[in-house]
Subunit: 202 residues, 2 copies
């Protein structure tokens, strides 16, 4: 086992001199393993090995595989928590709350670049597509579908996902105008209606 | 000028021995020029030069730049003709007609591969994104918007475009289930409602 966060006074080997570097090494190893093997097949043990840290300590510091995946994405929010917040409360406002989340998310520092990198990689690399597929299916769609009271709830949750990905592509990658520059208040009602229809309207 | 379609009895130089090869050479030169310079800046003259054919004959055989772009994509339908058909007729059925078109399009031989190649390239290469942006803006959005009777018609047409791109990503690239395998009759009413709301509902 190498030095790292878990060692009170890390031996400075030059490779992993301290806490912040260990964290970076682990997240890089995680991104490489997730990209190479996909979400479902990625192994915490292999990530620990690649990062040169103890598997038990990896779990201690980064939690379960889904928590490590989210940490590796370095999003400012946990999409599962957001989903739960959006689906709780008045059903008439679900679409609006999802639109709030989607429109806020890209504005947060560093998020746009990381999400676009993920979408670009998923578009061109089957392993990243598999990673996104595994995570979205295992961690998001089931959770959303369980809270819906419509028929075919998974399909509807995935159509919502497709609109979010397509919005990112059209607004931030292809950047067609006026969509790319449209202010939040013009987009919000139109997106809210789409999300409401997918998630709530029979 | 080289041999080609326009020459009754082409000299067989080995490089461009006949009609089919000339066509392929021109379409390849066009794809390269569109990818390198984007739709707006791409030059018919440069394409003719790269393909080794006369510019006037290029126009004669392939028409205007937008026609050559569509030919280079090798789609089985002209999206502008489809758009005009979908927008004509009963406004209450616009969403359903667009959903018909979108769901039919991918099923046609060879279309899925070419459109996914275009989307993948646009996701990763700014020049291809510029090409898509230029063509969609110049040839599709204005045409659709002119036929709409809602406020902000361009924005609404582009949201429709974003849903189509996102559907392609989620269904054919990321391939999340059950969306990837969902039969047409399950998707159609949900998509039709989204398109109807974007294009028609105030």
């Amino acid at each position: 086992m190498s030095t790292g966060d878990e060692v009170a006074q890390p031996k400075r080997t030059g490779r992993r001199p301290g806490g912040a570097d260990t964290r970076r090494t682990v997240l890089e190893a995680a991104r490489a393993e997730f990209a190479a093997r996909g979400y479902e097949k990625a192994s915490m043990r292999a990530i620990a090995r690649a990062a040169g840290v103890d598997a038990a300590l990896l779990h201690h510091y980064f939690g379960t595989k889904d928590q490590l995946f989210l940490a590796a994405l370095e999003l400012p929010v946990d999409p599962r928590a957001v989903v739960e917040r959006a689906l709780a409360g008045d059903p008439a406002g679900v679409g609006g709350r999802v639109a709030d989340f989607v429109l806020d998310l890209w504005e947060q520092p560093g998020v746009l670049d990381r999400l676009l990198a993920l979408i670009r990689a998923a578009a061109t690399t089957e392993q990243v597509a598999a990673l996104m597929r595994g995570f979205v299916t295992a961690e998001l769609i089931g959770r959303i579908a369980a809270a819906l009271e419509v028929e075919r709830p998974e399909l509807r949750a995935e159509l919502m996902f497709s609109q979010i990905v397509g919005l990112a592509m059209a607004r931030y990658v292809v950047r067609i105008e006026p969509l790319a520059s449209a202010p939040r208040e013009e987009l919000h009602p139109l997106l809210a209606r789409t999300f409401q229809n997918y998630l709530v309207t029979p």
